[in-house]
Structures are given as C-alpha cells and as structure tokens.
Symmetry: C2
Subunit: 687 residues, 2 copies
C-alpha cells in the first residue's frame, strides 16, 4: 500500500483544527492545543487505516482507538462526529463539557458511543491499550482457523508526554514489549509541552531509546504537522512488525496554527477569539464562521465509515461460514460477544458444610477459580508476580506468552503481569473493554492501593474485573505493617460501583464469586485470607449474595456482633464465651457493604434491628462501621511484624477480647433502647 | 584509591551469608536468598565506602544506605549488627519478624536505629533515594562554602528486579536522570529471579539501556558473587561521575551457597536445616553452629564504625569552624538539624475577616506558602506538572535544577516533579527522611490516589510531608468524573497518623498549615478548592487547629449541620433558608477528623451534643460520617463534567438543597431525643 494524497486531506485536517478551537472556545474550558497538533496523525490514521463501523459501534473485530492523552478529547469527539456516530451530532460538539452532554471533559467508556476506554488520568489509556491488544491476541490464538481470520483488529493509541512520565505507562510498556504485542501501535505526540511549560523542565529522557530497551519497534516522524506521507509510512511499517509493539514518535506543534503555537498557553485554555479567526484564515476557512465542516470533508469521512461498514458486513459473513464449520466455537464466540455466561455455570461453585476443614480463603478462591475456569472460558487470570501466594493460577492453566518464549502461547489464559500492579489494573480494564473476557488477577490486598487509579476507573467505566486480593489484614503476619492493609477496606468500600468483598468462609467465598461474575458492569475486589478460616454454621452462597445476613440468631440477645471476613468466626467464639457469663449475643456477617446496602430496608433492619447495642468487629480501621453499629472494635493504627496469631492477640482480635469488649458494651447500654443506624435510615426513607 | 583485598573479606561475606540463612531459619519466615546473593556487594560498599557512625546514627552528613528490595532486610539488620548499632544485638537477629522486635519483616524508619527509610513495598526505596539525594544536593548548594564542604554524603541504594518493574521506580529514575543527581548510586541485584520464577516470564527488557535512556551512568559487574575488585571499581567509577546518577548492574546468584542457589525456592522461604549446614561447610564455617560471627569479622566492622566516628568528629570540628565564619548559616543549619522551626514562624500565617473577599483555598494556600517560605527556609515545594493549577510555587522561588540547564540551580526550592505523582510522594518521604526539609508538593486531590502507596508510608514512617491537593470535589468542574474525587476524603481519613484537611476558608487554611507544619511526625493532605470560598464569621486559626468547632451556635437549634470545606458556607446559606421557615439550625465545621477526634471527649460532645438530629453535609462519599451524625447528605456516585456551579445543583449541594434535606430530617425526628454518636463513645469511655 502506498500513500496517495487526497484532495480532502488538507481540508479535513484544517477542519479538525478549527473545530477543536471552536469546541473549546464555546465551552470556555478544555484543551485546544493537543487536538490541533494531533489532527494530521489522527486524520492519517483514520482515513487510511482505521476499521470501525459507526453504525454498529460494537462490531467485535473493529480496530480500537485509544486517546490516552484524554484531555485532548475534543479530537475524538470531532472525529466521531465526522464519522457519523449517532451520539455525536454537531449540537454535542457545541455542548462540550456541559451538563448531561455526550462530550464530557475526558472521554468516558459507556457514556459516549465510540469511546473504547475512559481516559484522562494519565497513563491509563496507554495501559488499557495493552489489555485491548492482549484480548485480540488471545481471541485470535483461541478461535482463528485456517481461512477464518476472525480476530485481526489493531489497537491504535495516541499518547503524550504526560502519559509517558507516568509509572503505569512504563509498567505497561515493559510488559507489552515482553509479550511482543505486534497488534499494538502507539503514536506519541511529542510536542515538547506539558502544563508546567517546556518538557525541558522535567522530562528530558530519550523516549525512543527507552522503548527500544523495552523491546518495542520504534520510529519517528519529524514533521508531524505536515508530513502525511511520513505518518502513513510509519504506521504501515509498524503494522508490518508483527512481533513487537510499535511506538511512533511524532514531532508536532501544540496549537498548530495559533499565534501561540508551540507554547503551553495553548494547552489547557481556550484560544482567544481573534486568534481563532487567524487560525481559520490561515487554513483557508471563513474566519467569522464557527463549527464549519465542508461537505467534501463529511464525504471523505463517510467513505471511512462505509469502508468500516463493508468490513463489518464481510466479517459477519465470514463468521457465519465459520459457524458452519466450527459450530461449537461459533456458539461460544457468539455467547461471549453477547456478554452471556454459560448456562448453569454457577453450579460449578463449591459449597461447604460446617464440618468441612478450615481453609484459607485464598485457597478457597483457588478452588473456585479452577472450577469456574473449566466452564467459563472467558476467565483470564494472572498475578503481579505473586502467583504462589495469591493462588490465582488454576491447575491446567497455560501462560499467555509469545510462543517464541516457549513459556506458553497466546491462547493461554494466565498472565504473568510482573510486579506491575497499576498497569495490571488498567490492563484488566482494557481486557474487559474489549468485551469478551472476565479478567481476574491477584496481588496482596495492600498493593491494590498501588493500582487504585485504575480500580476507580474500573468502577467509573463499569468494567467487570475481579481482584484476587490475598493476605487480608494483619492476618498477613510476619511481612509486617508495610504489607498489612488497615485503611484499605474502607477506601475500597467508598468507591462507587465497586464491590469490596471480605468473605468469612467457603460458602461466602463462593457467594462473592457468584455475584462478582454475574455483575456485568461492576468490578469487585475480594479480600482473602492467608490464614485458615473455619466453615460457618449458617452460611450459604445465597445468604452471602445478599451482602449481609444473620449468622447466629438469638431473639433475646443482649448485643449484636457485626463483622466481616476472619472476624465472623472470632465473633462466634466470643458468643460462646459470653454465654458462659450469661450474656446472649447474635452475630451478623456483612461480606459486602454495597451489596447489603442495596437490599430492601426491611431486610436490613431485620439483620440490624433497634433495641440492644450493636458492636462491629473488624481487623481494619473502624471508620465507616458507625453506619451499622453503636460501638466499634477494630485497628486504627498500623499493624506489626509477627506471626498472625500473635498479632490477633496484640490487637485484641481474639474471641476472648471481643467477648470482653461486648460485655462492656452490653453493660454500658443495659436497660437502654438504642436506635439502630439502619432504623434512622428507614425513618428518613419512609417518612 | 585502588582495591586491596583484606584477609577478612571472604570471611565477612561468608558470615553475612550464613547469618542470613540462620536469621530466616530461626524465625521460619522471610527471604534468605537475596541477602545471601547481595552479601559481596554489601560488604564491598560498607567496608570501602560507607561513612556512618553507629554510635551517632543521626550524624547529618552520613552516607545514606537504602535497601529498596526491603524483603532482603536480614541483610541490613546483619550489617548493622556487625557495625554495633545498639538496636541490633545478636538477640535481635534471633527475634527476626517476632512480636515487638527491632527486626520486623521489612525495614521501618523510626522503628529501628540505622534504618534510613521504610522499604518493602517495591519501588518505594528507589524513589526515597532520589529524595535523599536531592536533599543533600540542595543543602550542599545552599550551605557549603569554600573550604567548608559540610554536605557531601552519598546515597547508596540496593534494588532488585521487583523494584525496577514498579512504575514508581521508573518515574523516580527518569527524574533523577533529568536532575543529574551525581550523588546517587544504585546497585541493581540482577539475580534473574522473582516470586513467579525466572524473570524470563515477565521481565525481559534491557535494564541497562533503559537507564541510559534516562540519562544515568550505567555499568555492570558480571560476577557479583565473587568479584569484589569489580564491585569496588564500579562503585569508584560511579562516585567519579558527578553529573549523573549511577546504576551498577550486579549479576548475582540468589541464595549463593545453597543447594538451591539460583532458584526461586530460596527467595521467600527458609532454607532447610541440612542445606544451611552445607552452606556453612562450603564457606568454612562450623556446620553445627548458628549465629556465629568470627572475631576478625567483628574487628573489621569495628574499623568501619571507627572510620565513620572519625569522620563524624572531623565534621563536627569543620562545622564549628564554619560557625566562626558564617554564624547565621551555622545557626540555621543547627536549628534545622535539631528539627526546630524558626521562633515565631506562625506569625507569618495570614488571618481573615468575614468581610474579606471570597477566595479559592488553593489561592489561600499559595498566600500561606509564600509567607511561610520567607521565614521557614526548610520548605521545599513542587508540583507534579500542575504548578499553575496547584499554585504551589511562591513568588520568589527558584527551581531546583542542575545548573547546566540554566533553568535553576541546586539551591532552588521548587521541584518540577513532572507528571509523576507516586514518585513525588516517595521522593518527599526521602526529603523528609534526610531530616532538614519540609517537603510540600501539589497535584489534584484525585491524583493523590496515584501516590497512595507512598502516602501510607509517609504515615507509617512519620514523615512530615504536606500534599497541596487542589481541585477538591466536584468543585473541580468541567474536567469531569475522571478527575473528581469522591472516595478520596474517606480513604485518606482512614490512614492512621495522617491528617486529611479540608479547610472551609482563609482562617481554616492557615490553621491547617499551622498544624501540618508543627506536626513533626505526621503527614498532611490539604484538600483545596478550585472555586472561591467566602470568609466565615466565626472561624479562626485556633478553632480550626482543633480539627472541629461550632461555626454557628444556636442553643435552641432544631438540627445541627456538620460539614467540611466548601460545604460549610453552603450550610450557612441553608441556616438562613431554614430560618425563613422557623427552623433553627447550628453549624459545625470539621476540617480534620483525626485532629478533632484527638480533642477531649467533653469538647467533642459540646460540638456535637445529643438531643436534636445531626445532619452531615459533604460533597464526597457519605461513608464515615455516621460517626458524627444521624443522617448524611453527600455524593455516593461518581461526578460529572460541567461547570462547578451546575454540578453543585445537580448533586443537590446548594443552600436550598441542604435546607430541604435538613427540614426533612428535623421533621422526621421532631420531638425525639437522639443520642449523638459522640455520646455513645463518651459512655463507653467513661463507664
């Protein structure tokens, strides 16, 4: 394929640049400079390479485009407007960053059609792209057959100086190089400007050399403002390198066309009205007109859309023919595209009787993963270099590795993420965004914090990703306070649309997985123990799936103990000890706040009724537990290094300690009727 | 200086290796392989180069040693035992990872003498080292004079494969290269093993090439198991490169001497008893004896300690002579070493009257920083590439830059961190750990989350670092939900020993800085608004410094509104609107939960008494507010992209909305006496 310049090329680029200036000026907020500078690379990519079908934006084999420098989102909104996405009529460009628009300040997956992943927090999109590329490679290796190249799409990503400074992008780049992801092509907008000014003030590394060190194919285009042929050639070359991801460094001028081009002034604020007029005059547009798209530019983008629609149609035919030859695979692919789970998959979840052995919940999780992986082929596991600790790798798993390494192949379903938690989180988001995988991955719960920037974007985007977060609480033991989560439980509980599970036994672990896997648009973090947990009398998958339930009922209880995870069994011990003193107690388990909070108020009130005092017990910060309890028993300092059993003693988390505290609470409030916090809520709701 | 092998070298290295095996075996927990593999590089560094005075571990010009691969901590405990640190008698080596020992599972600053920074969470120590190196460079440029080289120490850091995979280390390495920190020397323990096995499974980049790309001096020692002369030469060469940080890649064998040397099996579990006997036999030690240190090894390490003591003594004399010539600088240095603030510094804090203009608290913070920087020279500012948004750079600040860049010099007190939040957090920890700076640095509050791994180590270590976290809440506006913190307030409030401040006006902003700067062993995060805040009637620095106080008192109130930050003024508006309906309300501001919680219970109860309902109002997750209130008004979903004013309407955060909610709450609980959550606490305390 060679480059032929089209008559509309210059005009299309000028249109994108002028629209970017108009869009940001109209909203009086945003970033005009980067879209103006990246217009030539965007136009070259979209006009010559991108395969997308705006009329069927979810076509599974479409090329993925990721704008990792998401503050430049005017660019993608403009491109998708030109391409005819129904979410993006011209009025939406005029409503940029305004309330309830489809054109928010940074691109949001699920909010606007044609946006593949949520970007803006720098480095996330870069790493999502690696996930999107892994997903394609895995599906191709799993399902493509001779004569049936079903999964062939590329992932194209634009990235800027900001992204490349973020550690998350370094992690993802190193892993992408290791995995030899030839389907991933990044275009680096090297405009030498970040918010603080010239990158000379903080970012002077040799980016090309760095990516070569990661094992990438690297090239550059020195006049990214004008050299369309150079851009075309660089992208073509990158596509031809199939055993390495590619980075194309494109030297551009931020705010190209503006009087202030090349300056940080064009980065994050609208251009002045007279400046915009000058830009338009320079590019042969009417200086006085705003939001103008020449007909031949629309026509050129219609051709791109038509090309994509044709490719989609051809793909559909190919997929049909594939079905004739490979009906089982066809059915499985169709099911996965539709986002449906295999019928009856949940029967694979193990259940436990109280007489079964005490088992660590990380081990219970390993059992679940093994059984579920047998029936749910979309599971794609991994760990941030803690496989033997997280127990994330099921028995017959094959590693996802480039076949040349002889350590696995691309059909493998276990990713060795390396010690790269933040990238792992964002890669899982990319895997989920591709639409055909359920990523699960492990690290210590404490180090989910390293990835919290990606975790909150899972939640905002509604990606079903599952964190196998082992080594819960001080139960982690000897590794000490640097590795013991204290604030982490409440921090995760506070993220909207995220489920933080802290199962207490085998049935609760299965229940947590049941809800996590069924929740199509909600990520989960499962906090799992290193130490053994007894199987509870009174637990079940169904009860756990309510997020909270009564483990030990007692109609004449003097106190309710409410707990989660390993502390539920400790509360049961406390009940026995309290009984010896004639104090009656009931026990409530709340493995997941947000799932419990979504239950009907009457149910919740039956679990935590008014009357006698409620004491919460959890080996974490007590913050947050006041919403369920009158008194709190927890750990509001950092932990310590010692065997777990000794730590539970030191931090007063034994049955004896809890009984003593409960006795105290029961005595203090003896004879008083306390209003349950849930009843306060009920009254406010029912009034 | 040339290398001369000492008779004790081999024996010392053997001793360290055998002790490492013994220490981990005795505790039956820990990591023997890395200490055994790194023994030669550690011994070469300590015997030939390190200048430390174990009898005066805080000598300011000592060389800093950072074990970034902190799981190998048996190594530093052994070295410091041999050197005679009083915290580390042999019994402590025998109490490794046991309760209340000085030898926890990962090294902890402040817990054990001679530990410079807390490491273990991978990549942190690497980045701390950059902070330690910046501190030295800044002090040298500020105070050294002809003939008076007061600040000359090096920072030596050991790092492993795990650290180098973490994004935080990439960020810090890139910045260190940019800043040309010639005083920083890293030794990379390239043992080809991580927890998942051979690094071939996930970490195959060319590390040397990567560091060259960052602008580092790079070398290698191919037989790190034995080649002491090579190690000596590499370190000597690195010291001679004064305008670049250095990375020395040292090929080692993990668990050297063990039957399983070179395998992951030696990484994270004790060696078997017979294997340890074999190791000892191989190294000429008695296989049956444990915890043995030959006399000549002790003698060799005594010589190192004596060399350090002599250097300390000479330095003290030099500093005295410096004082004769430069009495002002001498006094300032002495004050900073003692950790005392300048007398009366707090008079620099601005105060405000209710009639003063409404001002954004990020702008109020800028004023504080400017005034404080004039009188507190230890302030060392910066931003993660958001200087103009965070307003972190005071008027006369000079950038901390290598002088060759002509963008500043090493005496500068403003660091352009680049878009590297996590490294920034860890570098601040390193700056604080050096002991003579108060680091302050900015990013958007939402992106403090990128750095939370470093923030929790600030808190665990007790480092006084101050985060200037601007663009609080949905008040950030158009950038949208990707940039709007929701869970962040509660997440930070839950970290032990961390102050999360959300000041409501000018006096509260000054109050937050007062407490943050005076708190020698506690980090702070200040959440500051983009939007203007009116100056409150009834606020003062003193009241804010209590963490919570009554802003509007009303003895016959029907309801209490408790809020923080921008919502305090909104509550004041609500009071006026409620008054129109005959409902009387009082208003409480809680700018900092943890500071308020530390006040006497009677004071807290006077602020939030029993009786009428208490409604919390904050534009964040309501989680956590039940500890102060009966009903909560907040934002339990993600935000949206729009101008801030419209968002406050959309999320029902106007005076009118709050008044409506308060009216509802007051009516629901009319005639009832509600027990304040603080009274529940009081009863439990006083019983």
């Amino acid at each position: 394929m060679s480059f032929t310049k089209a008559a509309s090329d210059e005009k299309a680029i000028a249109t994108i640049r002028c629209l970017a200036a108009d869009v940001v000026a109209k909203s009086n907020s945003g970033h005009p400079g980067a879209p103006m500078g990246m217009a030539p690379m965007a136009h070259t990519l979209f006009s010559r390479f991108m395969n997308v079908n705006p009329a069927h934006s979810k076509w599974v084999n479409r090329d993925r485009f990721v704008l990792s420098n998401g503050h430049a989102c005017a660019l993608i909104y403009i491109l998708n407007h030109l391409l005819g996405y129904k979410d993006l009529p011209m009025e939406q460009l005029k409503s940029f960053r305004q309330i309830d628009s489809k054109t928010p300040g940074h691109p949001e997956y699920g909010h606007t059609e044609g946006i593949e992943v949520t970007t803006g927090p720098l480095g996330q999109g870069f790493s999502n792209s690696v996930g999107l590329a892994i997903a394609q490679a895995n599906l191709a290796a799993t399902y493509n057959k001779d004569g049936f190249p079903l999964f062939t799409n590329h992932t194209y990503m634009f990235t800027g100086d900001g992204c490349l400074q973020e550690g998350i992008a370094s992690e993802a780049a190193s892993l992408a190089g290791h995995l030899k992801l030839g389907n991933l092509i990044a275009l680096y907008d090297d405009n030498h400007i970040s918010i603080d000014g010239d990158t000379a003030c903080s970012f002077t590394e040799d980016v090309e050399a760095r990516f070569l060190a990661y094992g990438w194919h690297v090239s550059h285009v020195l006049d990214g403002d004008k050299d369309l042929e150079g851009l075309f050639k660089a992208i073509t070359d990158a596509r031809n390198v199939t055993d390495k991801p590619s980075l194309i460094r494109v030297k551009t001028t931020i705010g190209f066309g503006s009087k202030q081009q090349g300056l940080a002034a064009t980065h994050g604020a609208p251009l002045k009205a007279d400046d915009i007029e000058g830009v338009k005059a320079k590019f042969g547009m009417d200086p006085k007109e705003k939001f103008v798209v020449p007909d031949d530019v629309y026509a050129a983008y219609k051709e791109i859309a038509d090309r994509g629609a044709k490719a989609d149609k051809e793909w559909t035919e190919l997929f049909k023919a594939y079905g004739d030859k490979y009906p089982n695979e066809h059915a499985e692919i169709a099911r996965r595209i539709a986002g449906k789970l295999p019928e009856g998959w949940e029967k694979a979840l193990p259940t436990y009787k109280p007489s079964d052995d005490a088992v660590a919940s990380r081990k219970l999780s390993e059992t679940v993963l093994g059984k579920v992986a047998d029936v749910v082929p979309e599971l794609l596991g991994g760990s941030a270099d803690l496989t033997g600790s997280n127990l994330t790798r099921w028995g017959n798993a094959v590693d996802f590795q480039h076949p040349s390494t002889q350590l696995g192949d691309y059909s493998g379903k276990y990713i060795r993420y390396g010690v790269r938690e933040h990238a792992m989180g964002a890669i899982m988001n990319g895997l989920a965004a591709y639409g055909m995988h359920i990523p699960t991955a492990g690290t210590f719960l404490n180090f989910v914090s390293y990835a919290i920037g990606a975790v909150r974007l899972s939640a905002l985007s509604g990606h079903r990703v599952i964190w196998v977060a082992t080594h819960d609480s001080i139960g982690l033991g000897e590794d000490g306070p640097t590795h013991q989560p204290i604030e982490t439980a409440i921090a995760l509980r506070a993220i909207p649309n995220l489920m933080f599970w802290r199962p207490a036994d085998g049935n609760e672990t299965s229940g947590a997985y049941l809800v996590a896997i069924e929740a199509k648009s909600t990520p989960s973090v499962l906090a799992l123990t290193r130490q053994n947990l007894p199987q509870l009398e009174g637990s079940s998958i169904e009860k756990a799936a309510k997020g909270g339930y009564v483990v030990v009922e007692n109609e004449s209880a003097d106190i309710t103990l409410v707990a989660s995870g390993s502390e539920v069994a400790i509360c049961n011990e406390a009940v026995a000890k309290l009984g010896e003193k004639g104090i009656k107690a009931r026990v409530v388990s709340i493995p997941c706040f947000s799932v419990f909070d979504a239950q009907p108020i009457d149910y919740r009130l039956s679990v935590l009724p008014s009357g006698k005092p409620i004491l919460s017990v959890e080996a974490y910060s007590t913050l947050g537990w006041s919403k369920y309890s009158h008194a709190q028993h927890g750990i509001n300092t950092f932990g310590a290094s010692a065997p777990a059993k000794e730590l539970f003693k030191k931090y007063k988390m034994t049955g004896e300690d809890v009984a003593a505290k409960a006795e105290h609470v029961a005595k203090v409030f003896q004879g008083q009727t306390l209003v349950s916090p849930i009843e306060l809520e009920a009254k406010l709701m029912k009034y």
